[in-house]
Point group: C2
Chain length 231, copies 2
């Protein structure tokens, strides 16, 4: 018997992905590369960005930042000191606050972002190793920061997050001498859940890995396929 298999295109039914695609179209129109940057709370996303964006990026790519937080604007204030356009997005309208950014929240911020004046938008997500990886926001790439203080087991406990990213920055390397922490074991566990993923060992304090991170950001902008969406 011939059987026809009807596949439900879940993707098309998913409101978040529909809005993410609309965001992506807007980013394309302005030729902006978008990075969704994720981590656990306190892993050092903002400190790394402060170091990485302190000078113009390779290729003179101009960066902007969208700061996602449950509450407060401390990170946005820190980054604004760099004279990089920064927009704060708080998720605390809901009960207790949303634990992630979704495409619609990002969409609500688009009008406040000078998209035509930047080449790279870094979306600093809410600190959380679960839900941010489940919601596309219209980004070109996803990266995460994992602090060595969090232990070697995190890739195995939060595999979706590590799997969702094409770069894992292993941060706070300056603390390695003071920890019972096996860097090789973490790198092994990262590779188990996301084989071959690019990793960079970083420290916002000593500057280790920051140049490599800056080069990666520059390459991300350079690899962008020119927009096909009519402007």
């Amino acid at each position: 018997m011939h059987r026809t298999r009807v596949r439900v295109v879940e993707d098309a039914l998913d409101a978040n992905n529909t809005i993410a695609r609309a965001n992506r179209d807007d980013f394309d129109r302005s030729d902006v590369t978008v990075l969704n940057l994720m981590s656990a709370p306190g892993a050092g996303k903002t400190a790394l960005l402060e170091r990485a964006l302190a000078e113009p990026l390779p290729g003179d790519a101009r960066a902007g930042v969208l700061e996602g937080d449950v509450q407060g604007s401390m990170d946005a204030d820190r980054l604004a000191a760099l004279h990089v356009p920064v927009v704060q997005l708080n998720t605390d309208n809901g009960f207790g606050g949303e634990c992630h950014l979704d495409a619609n929240m990002v969409r609500s911020a688009l009008g406040h972002l000078p998209l035509d004046e930047i080449d790279l938008l870094v979306i600093e997500n809410v600190g959380n190793l679960v839900c941010p990886a489940e919601f596309r926001v219209g980004e070109d790439a996803r990266a995460m920061v994992c602090s060595v203080t969090e232990g070697e087991d995190k890739p195995l406990k939060y595999p979706l997050m590590f799997r969702a990213c094409e770069l894992v920055a292993i941060n706070k390397s300056d603390l390695l001498p003071h920890l019972d922490f096996d860097l090789d074991k973490l790198l092994y566990n990262v590779d188990v859940v996301n084989p071959g993923v690019r990793t960079i060992v970083t420290s916002a304090r000593t500057g280790e890995g920051v140049e490599e991170l800056r080069r990666w950001l520059g390459e991300l902008v350079a690899r962008r396929v020119p927009a096909t969406v009519p402007g």
Copy 2:
């Protein structure tokens, strides 16, 4: 004009709270005190429990642990070595995994817990500073672990979590000499969002604060109001 205000009793309509209350009744029947223990990923909940539960608690209270994780059973395996009853609860049935425990997940584990053989059940929640604070699971008390590596700003960025707890353990104090971290500033910020909340500075590595934490756990069991639910 006389106006009557009808208040919608949201609580009674909330399925999670209804199930949490059923859990609580079961805990009451077995005279078990329940602590919901929360933190960001890698803050050191398990390591602190390993230290705190290595010996019988004050008052000879017998402890058990319910381990919540998106995936894996590494923490449960660590705690099982202590000869404390441990049950693992994984949240990864959903897409990407749930970022918190809710009352129904805890309920699904109750049959696996030797409630009549323990006096204290510690529920180690999924590592996350947002949603776990929004879901009651039937607990008597909530506590959190905040690592000094996470920065002083966390209470201001995740206020609901800090507000929900009656104890904040400030962990990894052994790393203080190696961090740009102002402990007084963190304590001030904790007090801003939850005035007067009890704090204990701890280190699972050096043992600092572990005896105080054990005393607090013992007091938690001792203060329990005898069950009024028929057994």
